[in-house]
């Protein structure tokens, strides 16, 4: 394991690991913008639409007597057919009343089905049997060449550079399309550029993760990153980091044992990062929000319990009883302690002050802050509280 992570497992493993890392960084960064633009599903259509182009490119190259597995040729073919698929989706969305998700569903399955038919045809050919084109479905790194790794690394670098160059217009378009247009941005062209970047990542990633799993590399790092920050640029940076980590660790892990598939392991690593983010992220994470909810619930029960004590009403809810008892505010038989009586009086006073505040014109706009838990001292200055108490005294504070 240590040898794998420090790139000491042999030539092929090093190539695969470096290629996967480059791909992961690029996919994470581009995916973040795709996710922020709320077009995540489009990547599914693009990736599935690569298959017929891949098969046709193989046939053409074999037909001209060349090597059918020449990677740049296969990438070009996939890119062309993915472009056709993308065009079909946007044409259907523009010209009909079908929503984009329906158009994506239709295009994706038709292109993929056609691609599978072509693959079957290739299988029956003499030169097709050793082609191993089905490796592009889920990725296959076993026979990766130095030139393949270079193509992948260069492609990743170009995509990353273009993403950095276009980050401002892409973010403005994602956040507020109308405003971006008024600023003179051609948002249709910017969306198109984003699609080209997604397409490029897909094609670059064919060899390593395959066309079915590339969607995971685009989207999972972005949604994992979203848990950690409220800043769009940070989301993109973190997504690139998570993507790169997944690519590196996943490829290294898959090299530790024979026959471990690289692409799926990369996706599992990136899922692990996602799961950790979902659970542990400080403000948007599941644990943090569960804790916040519990805390709020306790505060509410405590407050309601104190108000019940102040009004001399019995406390029935067991959570409320526990809250009051554990804080020494109420005895086991339900009678308030001295401390409890004081706290209850304080809570009631606060409640009455909030009521009084609504009747004072200069302060009444602050009534929106009255959520039942906020103490009046947190909203008003001591002088203002005195003003309130002056209003309260004629009616007699409880």
């Amino acid at each position: 394991m240590f040898e794998a992570l420090t790139l000491q497992l042999g030539y092929n493993a090093v190539l695969v690991t470096l290629g996967s890392t480059a791909l992961g960084v690029a996919a994470g960064a581009v995916g973040a913008f795709l996710y922020l633009r709320k077009r995540a599903l489009v990547s599914d259509a693009i990736s599935h639409a690569t298959l017929p182009g891949l098969a046709l490119a193989f046939l053409v190259m074999v037909g001209f007597g060349g090597d059918g597995r020449f990677l740049p040729g296969l990438m070009l073919g996939s890119a062309l057919s993915a472009w056709a698929g993308l065009y079909a989706v946007s044409w259907i969305t523009r010209k009909t009343r079908l929503p984009e998700d329906a158009a994506i569903g239709a295009v994706l399955s038709v292109f993929f089905g056609f691609g599978i038919v072509l693959l079957t045809v290739i299988q029956t050919m003499q030169s097709g049997r050793q082609a191993g084109l089905e490796g592009f479905l889920l990725g296959s790194t076993a026979g990766m060449l130095r030139s393949d790794a270079l193509v992948i690394a260069a492609g990743g670098a170009i995509v990353l550079g273009a993403t950095i160059l276009l980050r401002r217009p892409m973010l403005m378009t994602a956040f507020d399309e109308g405003y971006a247009q008024v600023q003179g941005l051609n948002t249709a062209r910017i969306d198109m550029a984003l699609m080209v970047l997604v397409l490029a990542v897909t094609v670059v990633g064919l060899k390593i993760v395959g066309l079915i799993l590339i969607v995971a590399m685009l989207i999972i790092p972005a949604v994992a990153a979203r848990f950690w920050t409220e800043n769009a640029s940070r989301v993109a940076q973190l997504a690139a980091l998570f993507g790169g980590m997944s690519g590196y660790i996943g490829a290294a892990l898959s090299a530790t044992a024979p026959d471990l598939p690289t692409g799926p392991i990369i996706v599992l690593v990136s899922f692990t990062l996602f799961a950790l983010s979902l659970l542990l992220a400080p403000s948007r994470g599941v644990l943090a929000s569960a804790l916040r909810h519990r805390q709020l619930q306790h505060e509410v029960h405590l407050r309601q319990g104190l108000l019940a004590l102040a009004h001399g009403q019995p406390v029935y809810e067991s959570l409320t009883q526990r809250m009051l008892r554990s804080r020494g505010l109420m005895r086991a038989d339900g009678v308030p302690t001295d401390k409890g009586r004081n706290a209850a009086a304080q809570a009631l006073l606060d409640e009455n002050r909030w009521q009084a505040l609504r009747r004072i014109e200069t302060l009444s706009s602050l009534a929106v802050r009255d959520d039942g838990l906020t103490r009046i001292g947190d909203v008003l200055t001591p002088d203002q509280v005195k003003l309130l108490d002056a209003r309260l005294s004629p009616q007699g504070a409880a």
Binding site: L36, K38, L165, L166, R168, P169, L171, M172, A174, F175, D176, G178, Y179, Q181, V182, Q183, G184, L185, R226, T229, E230, N231, A232, S233, R234, V235, S365
Partner: protein, 264 residues
């Protein structure tokens, strides 16, 4: 590019000089589907004034604004800004969209939103410098939001969100400000803050155009009105064009009765 060719009633073409008008529409028709939402509208905004675009729901107010800004492509007609094409004058035009059109869970902070107003200055790659940060804070201070610079936008109240959008428009240092229902769903304090800033802009010689809903505040807030109900129903100074007759024609029925004290 300083004149607009127009056909008069008898079919003759005439030229009109519109360089003095920050925004002029001639024969603008907009349609989303089979029928026009805005039909053949002429509008001439005067420089250094505040104009309210008013009309009933669905009358095409927001659509007209979007067509004026090039967000929607009109089916027919033309839009000029200071007599020239919209694209040549982008830097001079600031836009405050409707709050409802935004995803408020988007991961962005108040400071970043206002920074978008500096896009034309920053371009693709220029570094954000201290003077840009200072500009952002200055604009936030002007709308009373300087203490909220690092908040996520979803944590703001509706009125605060609207003020941030106004700050973004201010950052542009534009000459023409177009606002889509800036007072919709905001608290009284925000409404007062926004109108103060808008009047300051007007007093500096800038031009303000706002889609407006509340007829009772038109006279206090604006100098000019543009009435629309799919067609142009009236245009001019508040005294001349914001009359009971015009409101009846625009809204139908008896709406507006008792609203205009001086009309009695």
């Amino acid at each position: 590019m300083t004149a607009v060719e127009l056909a008069t009633d008898n079919g003759q073409m005439v030229s009109e000089n519109l360089t003095g008008s920050p925004l002029a529409l001639r024969g603008v028709t907009v349609s989303y589907g089979s029928e026009p939402v805005v039909f053949s509208v002429d509008m001439t905004i005067e420089a250094g004034t505040m104009t309210a675009i008013i009309g009933p729901n669905g009358a095409g107010k927001s659509t007209l604004l979007k067509a004026a800004l090039g967000i929607i492509k009109p089916l027919a007609g033309r839009v000029t800004t200071w007599g020239g094409s919209l694209d040549s004058q982008r830097a001079r035009i600031a836009y405050v969209p409707q709050r409802a059109s935004i995803d408020w869970d988007f991961p962005t902070q108040v400071r970043d939103v206002v920074m978008m107003g500096l896009f034309r200055e920053l371009g693709l790659l220029r570094r954000v410098r201290a003077k840009h940060h200072a500009k952002v804070m200055e604009c936030l201070t002007r709308v009373g939001m300087q203490d909220f610079a690092d908040r996520q936008i979803g944590q703001l109240s509706g009125g605060q969100q609207q003020r941030v959008f106004l700050a973004r428009a201010l950052a542009q240092e534009a000459d023409l400000y177009l606002l889509d229902e800036p007072f919709a769903g905001v608290d009284a304090a925000t409404e007062a803050a926004i109108i103060t800033v808008l009047k300051e802009l007007r007093n500096e010689g800038k031009t303000v155009v706002a889609v407006h809903h509340d007829l009772s505040t038109v006279e206090d807030y604006f100098d000019r009105v543009f009435l629309i109900n799919r067609r142009r129903m009236g245009e001019g100074s508040v005294e001349a064009a914001f009359t009971q007759d015009a409101l009846h024609a625009t809204y139908g029925g008896r709406l507006g009765d008792g609203l205009i004290a001086r009309a009695g």
